[in-house]
Assembly symmetry: D2
Homo-oligomer: 275 residues x 4
């Protein structure tokens, strides 16, 4: 057990991540793989090399042999995305049983951005909204959150059922969950949720888990993940052909590439080619 | 295919349930069971009897052979519970990509109740709040929801990223999902979500699915479910002993029962015994 | 960590169960439940009572917060049933990568039984085959297993691919797996696999896990499971009515019961009534 | 419904694949995606383009909205690998309930190969065993399978329990399953099981499903899968650097590459570079 469970990683204005419990580490991955592949793994003599081999060939089951349990506090709109990952065990604080804390998330001034034009689902991180507008939005958000909690509090005090009283609380209110997941499914979660097209607030949690927890807990699995998954690229059949042409000094062009404009742009970005 | 997919079941003030697609029916359950149990099922000659036999003995896998896909509109606080069921496929309307409708749920006057004392998580359906108070809560909820949508709308109009703009919307706002699940897991969902300790708003959806859809789609599975699951009771080892004593005309009492007060009360309620 | 991982539980002629790793215990169940139900659990003051409450009401998610990893050696025909439980992580010894051990299972003389007439899928434990016949079957099984391993060995020595060579080995040959599962799903597995209609060889494993491992690891969860699940009975709607009639000293009979003969028989057995 | 359910695809010597039922098609993927991504998908005007976009960006949930049910007959050693895929519903013919057919698989003369030296888990498809040896193995396999069925038959006739009698049958015996899975998980299965390092007998089934069923059922999803998944390659961070160097006409070598020999070899093979 590597982690001090009293250590708390603070995220956003009122959120946190706490490691409650851990099962296994890099050696557990190796142990399970050697059962499965038996003599077949003898030629890969070292743990680090075997873990990289497993990651590269997507032999995922040995990574399921490690497990982690986290205690998390996050805004409801983050929790809503989080819980879409079905291969985990969850216990969430219930506002039907208990009284909600008066804690809500307001983006800081640097986290307000314009809607992205290209990336349909995200903010445009290069955009700059006017500071006056931001102050205005931020104040109004605070005010609304405050008003909604006041109504909530009044209804609770009057004896209205909690499950009704809470329905006016906005999704920026914080909730808490216990979340238990195996390493294979955690890495899958991180691959999706650390990426730039994930919402900024989600990424703050995912990056903390990746860099402060996984990296320390299972260093070999972490580095194999970074090289063979997180920082890898998937080349389509068409892009493989394009690379071959470039290597053979043939001309390539979007028009003859048989891929979409967005794939072409990504392709050129990765290999620093002229679009 | 039994269902007219243009038919819409309305739920709450703005919600709905629509059957998008269906795979299999009662005969598919029988077909799969006869593969598994082969000659072993020959003595159960009729489909209805076989389905009841499977349900009674919790041979659940044949019920997985039917599948249903629904299109649902429900308040976010209902969706949050819904999505905790992990054995389903889900596509939810994303407020990061798209603009939210200005549709929110306000309980009608008969749906406001006091917090239950016994049932820690629910409203007390026998309670009566004062009508004046209800009018007051209801108006304030409407007002808050309206204000929050106004702020949302303004931020969207100003070009603020959608994923930020939406965080002040309360959990009474509606969302939409496509939800695909097999019959076994659907029945498990209904067992939990039609029960009286489920939140009223959730039950409105669950009961519609049970009574308007499942009952028509798979009538044998429906009636087996009602008899052997939904309306059945689980008797603990201790309660079995109590029943035996009652049958043998021995005295029973809470003090000698070795069960908790709440289990004792439920036990007496089921069999109409004096507490 | 309660278990000495060098301790091995022997099962059948060459099988074993070894606890590799454990996460959590009874207190982890309580800890997770108190997050979910918050103030709602305060009235249940003691851990034991809370665990029993959770089990009785099928609040299953807190039981997912405990995890166990086992190393198992079992015949292939047992492994085939074992692996049907999908909510676990598995690494199995692969006969494509590695050479199979020359270890196979032969039932001992007391484990040969006739096909059951009633229970279509099982042996009849009350039946008695002739000892001479048993000796004969047993010898022939041994002989066949030996011959098949000889062919396997010859093909391996000749350099034939392992994945081909192994296809003549019978399902009584042993295999090994690493198996990691949470407590909720383990208890579900045990409920099915310790029951008398499970195959004897499977039950030998399941009972060892239940009585030698779970009972020591999570004693409160174990006893709650025994009372509210393993030794409980599910009474159908029809059987509840029958009980009420018995209590009210009304006559009951199979003819008027509206249940199948097998359900009637089970009902009478449970409550020691005349059939 | 595109498939004639009376049509049977024969595989190996006695196996088959039959489509029992289908839910959805390419348009169902698009329908679900447009719910999720709403306005965000409007710019991708055509179904084919949208499906390719979803596949490329691993937006997998819309592919879960299609479902297929197959009836399969396959050798036990194939079924054992098949069933390791946990995200499917299965009903298998049970040899505890029913009598096994006298059908077993013997590789034809072209399917006997030597153990591969490089690929630790597979046969070496370029190897050639001597025809005399093959004839010898083949005969012995047949003989053993025959003998084991004879013993099985005798025990069944004598009234021995089926669950015991069947344990001497080798894993080349055929079994039957009903298998229901969604398209996303089916494609994942096919990606693993059509690949050359899957066992030849498994690939025969997987390829039939891919080329005879999926290709006809969901042609857009099929071609997107082939381009962006099946025939794509994953380039590690290190390999991306190597490509950039090649493009910039810098020298690359295994020694300076920081990757394993096997990754280097694969890399050179993909882009037709000198090793």
């Amino acid at each position: 057990m590597e982690f001090d469970t009293s250590k708390v990683f603070h995220v956003l204005d009122h959120g946190f991540i706490r490691v409650v419990d851990i099962m296994g580490d890099d050696t557990s991955i190796v142990q399970a793989a050697r059962v499965s592949y038996g003599d077949g793994t003898k030629h890969v003599s070292q743990d680090r090399a075997l873990i990289r081999y497993l990651m590269r060939h997507k032999h995922t089951s040995p990574f399921e042999m490690c497990e982690i349990k986290l205690h998390l506090k996050m805004p409801i709109f983050v929790a809503r995305q989080w819980i879409r990952h079905r291969t985990a065990s969850i216990n969430e604080y219930s506002a039907r049983y208990s009284i909600s804390d008066n804690k809500f998330y307001i983006p800081n001034d640097n986290s307000f951005h314009a809607q992205s034009i290209d990336k349909k689902q995200s903010r445009d991180l290069d955009s700059q909204l006017e500071l006056d507008s931001i102050k205005d939005y931020s104040e109004k958000m605070q005010h609304l959150a405050g008003e909604s909690y006041q109504l909530y509090q009044k209804m609770i005090d009057d004896g209205v059922a909690r499950e009704i009283a809470r329905i006016s609380l906005p999704v920026c209110y914080y909730t808490e969950i216990y979340w238990k997941i195996d390493l294979h499914n955690l890495l899958h979660f991180l691959r999706l949720r650390c990426k730039e097209n994930a919402q900024y607030e989600m990424r703050e949690y995912a990056n903390t888990i990746l860099e402060k927890i996984v990296k320390v807990w299972v260093p070999h699995a972490y580095s194999a993940f970074m090289d063979y998954s997180f920082n890898s690229v998937l080349l389509s059949k068409q892009c493989i052909l394009l690379i071959k042409k470039v290597i053979n000094k043939e001309k390539i062009s979007f028009e003859e590439s048989d891929i979409s404009k967005s794939e072409w742009n990504e392709f050129c970005d990765i290999f620093e080619l002229d679009k």
